[in-house]
Symmetry: C3
Subunit: 458 residues, 3 copies
Amino acid sequence: MAGSPRRAGGRRLLLPLLCLFFQGATAILFAVFVRYNHETDAALWHWGNHSNAANEFYFRYPSFQDVHVMVFVGFGFLMAFLQRYGFSSVGFTFFLAAFALQWSTLIQGFLHAFHGGHIHVGVESMINADFCAGAVLISFGAILGKTGPAQLLLMALLEVVLFGVNEFVLLSLLGVRDAGGSMTIHTFGAYFGLVLSRVLYRPRLEKSKHRQGSVYHSDLFAMIGTIFLWIFWPSFNSAPTMLGDGQHRTALNTYYSLTASTLSTFALSALVSSDGRLDMVHIQNAALAGGVVVGTSSEMMLTPFGALAAGFLAGTVSTLGYKFFTPILESKFKVQDTCGVHNLHGMPGILGALLGVLVAGLATHEAYGDGLENVFPLIAEGQRSATSQAMHQLFGLFVTLMFASVGGGLGGLLLKLPCLDYPSDSQCYEDQVYWEVPGEHEDTAQEPLKMEEPDTQA
Amino acid sequence: MAGSPRRAGGRRLLLPLLCLFFQGATAILFAVFVRYNHETDAALWHWGNHSNAANEFYFRYPSFQDVHVMVFVGFGFLMAFLQRYGFSSVGFTFFLAAFALQWSTLIQGFLHAFHGGHIHVGVESMINADFCAGAVLISFGAILGKTGPAQLLLMALLEVVLFGVNEFVLLSLLGVRDAGGSMTIHTFGAYFGLVLSRVLYRPRLEKSKHRQGSVYHSDLFAMIGTIFLWIFWPSFNSAPTMLGDGQHRTALNTYYSLTASTLSTFALSALVSSDGRLDMVHIQNAALAGGVVVGTSSEMMLTPFGALAAGFLAGTVSTLGYKFFTPILESKFKVQDTCGVHNLHGMPGILGALLGVLVAGLATHEAYGDGLENVFPLIAEGQRSATSQAMHQLFGLFVTLMFASVGGGLGGLLLKLPCLDYPSDSQCYEDQVYWEVPGEHEDTAQEPLKMEEPDTQA
Amino acid sequence: MAGSPRRAGGRRLLLPLLCLFFQGATAILFAVFVRYNHETDAALWHWGNHSNAANEFYFRYPSFQDVHVMVFVGFGFLMAFLQRYGFSSVGFTFFLAAFALQWSTLIQGFLHAFHGGHIHVGVESMINADFCAGAVLISFGAILGKTGPAQLLLMALLEVVLFGVNEFVLLSLLGVRDAGGSMTIHTFGAYFGLVLSRVLYRPRLEKSKHRQGSVYHSDLFAMIGTIFLWIFWPSFNSAPTMLGDGQHRTALNTYYSLTASTLSTFALSALVSSDGRLDMVHIQNAALAGGVVVGTSSEMMLTPFGALAAGFLAGTVSTLGYKFFTPILESKFKVQDTCGVHNLHGMPGILGALLGVLVAGLATHEAYGDGLENVFPLIAEGQRSATSQAMHQLFGLFVTLMFASVGGGLGGLLLKLPCLDYPSDSQCYEDQVYWEVPGEHEDTAQEPLKMEEPDTQA
């Protein structure tokens, strides 16, 4: 990365200035475009003669809150496994997601809920914005510890737009079904982050190797993230599906899939270890793959057995990925994937998309009855055969991979702008670079880290 | 504080005796006065021919549970940032809130739900009691680390009564709207605690200065509190509002406001720092100010832009308060505010009340339609103009400040009763004074703390 | 325990093989037997002309999610109090519960929801499976730190079956009411675990005594578990009760009971201490006894006062149990109860069953009105008197104790199978035996633990 050495303090002004500028811009856009929808507006709601019980709030808000916990507690603490990067993991998750919520309310609003010159918001826009924030955080996982907050903010700025466009192409143009986002969230977020990490490849990252592991208590903090993600994943997948049997079935399928991915992760983690001991990295991550893999198909008639089988497969692939593929990804493909998002979101996301192809292709009027209208409206209306729906699903996966890859590449170039501050190779995975860290902490840091100038990130 | 030296052991008997006495007293009062309401009583519910789906439980219980998480996990862990006071922060929160729930069920019941000689309870009384417990915990934040549990219990005893009376004056007598409690909870709780802390001023508190900071992992525990408070604040503000569009709009406004306060906190924290680094104290606290500031107005037609602007302002004021005002508060006003409740609840609470004045004053029949009846019944019924409502809102703020200040002063005198045990100036912020602490912990405490007699707290 | 010394590595293969075998077996059973019920199946739901709002999902899913948090976060972190056993506490909870959910879906399905050759699943089977997992985790608490994961898996295999049979005998054959499971979950889980722990008695467990305590931060992790259990217990007891007033009243009673057990625990903990200081073990556990003690009676017309009195009694008995009875249990009865499940689940469970006897015996048509049909259908239909119902409740307790004791004994024999791996007496309460533990952690473990052969567990 070019650029003559400058005072870190000078560069550091960029973060607050970007924050203030973006906040000002979104506020103006909100003022011009964003309005309460007919379920949140006092006059509109009471104009129709609605029963309060019919307000969408009561059908989706509990699920929304579960998703909200996943985004902020789940992702934040899951990434807090690093011994010296807990403040950044939890704090930047908080920061990035807060920005993404506002920004994606606008982007998704323009694309999905723009009527009469206004974006109309309610609980569904809250859920959709949280989903988009989830994708941003998945990408964050790939570059965790190697980027500064101003870089992350720009990444989110770009990614939210591309997420919205990709989602629009899939759901609105192609008629793809992807309630829990195997494609739109997990595959997109993972490959966006992985390509971005490739562009930011650091050949001398081993200078920070000693900080790349966990300590005992940081692994327990990470388990807070894991467990909350695991618990609430049924709500994640079911939050945006059709009411009634749709939400109910989606939650049930996800619940089964997760139990199976947990068992297969424990089994495989012990199997691939030299002495039969379990690896916390596997448990913290691969056990969640069961939620990812049924993101597309859990609203469909997957059957409880199908959910178990899918979860089992995802846990297995994910654990094997951590053990065997992550090292290759770095050595051969020059992708440094801090959290292993390729194993947790990338491969299980693709598997989930393919499972969606399969289950959509098997859809029949017998299996879905009058519920076919809800799950596959285009098949129910006779516009498509099940096979055609399956082909569209498959095409959606390719579109997603393309958007994610090109977007991640663009993102990488954006993050290499010379004005942006980032940690040097020997300062990666270290909170002190961006946070005032209490000196009396237990672990390392006898000598305070010198604030050197960034070196590589070429 | 007067009183001849006594054996700590003797004084320590007071806590269990007070507990047992208060529990006995509330139990007797429950036996005499508290009854199931028509939604929780088997006979009453089935006497009317209700659909089970119409039971208030299904409209408010999920929000109640979110509030419950905020009170016990949110406040408890938020205060666990101190390096040696985690047991007390989480434990005394648990203890105080459990007592406050019982006691405020009675006090609020007598004031709001007393019919035919009985208090009738259901999910709404659970929410209201949790709100009152929230105010008590805000006050606790101001004196954290400097008081004993028996003192805290007496504080709660007094504060719950005054909270109930203030709330009654505002909501029932003045017709003030304050769903999320910018006034009744945040302003009241903060100034009650601050005045109380002023009365208990310790000139030699620097003896415990070395324990007043955080350690690495205690800051992460505090972030658990922050994040759960942040996530569930939309439920806090919307829990008691009118059903339908009311709850929906309140949650949405709070959600937007919090995203803005988070961005402004990150921006300001970096701006006011000498080297551009972020301060955990700001992130843990000021990012939440967006929830406080829309406590009054989030049920109104604040507009999404209004929510963003309010949140941005609150995060800014709160961060600046931590940086510049807290030191002055101690040096000039002799108020030692451990958690900075003035910045998180005091100033944002007042701002929230003023915002409520503004938004109420702007209320029109056009903007609210038939929903005006729900938000401003007195305006809808023609008993008041919008301007008059605004004036009542403003008067409500003054009443609250008066109740809080006088109450905090009384509370301070009560806590100085000579029979009460409290930590000496050199024992503040230290769990060992009131807890059996495992000796093998990581940080300090090579030599166990001697249980000296209390010294100042004049 | 017999058996010639073998390579630990060889024995360690058993865990993954058992996992894979059990997962395969449950998957096949799911394929053959498990089907969506009429509320989760697309065709069945839409065949009837249901309003989506009538789907059971909306009445029970929020409560289910709260229960889910309790099982995975609550139990997992509550047991993480041990200084070197956090990975195992949280991890094995995760593992055991995931298996128990699948397995008990089958067992409970065969016993309760088997129609036309199929088990029909939906949100109620999810709740019931979580309840069964709760019982397994209670038993796990008694033997925490002294068993290997393969042993635990076999324990769950057996316990889930016996849990299902006991529950079937009580609820279906005897017509016993036990919504929150004072008997079926707490009493059963506790005595199953205690008898099992008796069979696995280790006379030389003092070799691991130095690891049996907590450290400062492990106690805070445990408080995460405590607080989430405490908060969501009202949802636990009310999750399976009748809709409407049933769920509402159950949640309310549990909420009151828990506040009282918290106050009595704080009072008693200070009282029984030599110097008036509080003991974290009491606060973490006994404060929860109020949830256990109203498990049976909280759906009944217990009255708010009754809830307070029951909670107070339970907190008192539980705290005294930790102080005085746990040592006797080990020295006299040779039961090593790691988490004190006898105090938290055993005695309060029995008290809860007896309270259920009392409250059922006092049931009148006046008190319950037309709601009697929901709470005591057999009394409402005239098949039983209240006294007869009370006698059946009492008999249910004896049946539960019998099933638990015999089951625990069988379980102990099963876990002593020579092929099973377990930690030696000097390796108990130590994560390194089963987990790859980061070397740089803060506390002990300068020298890595040698993987010795198991010694006693005779």
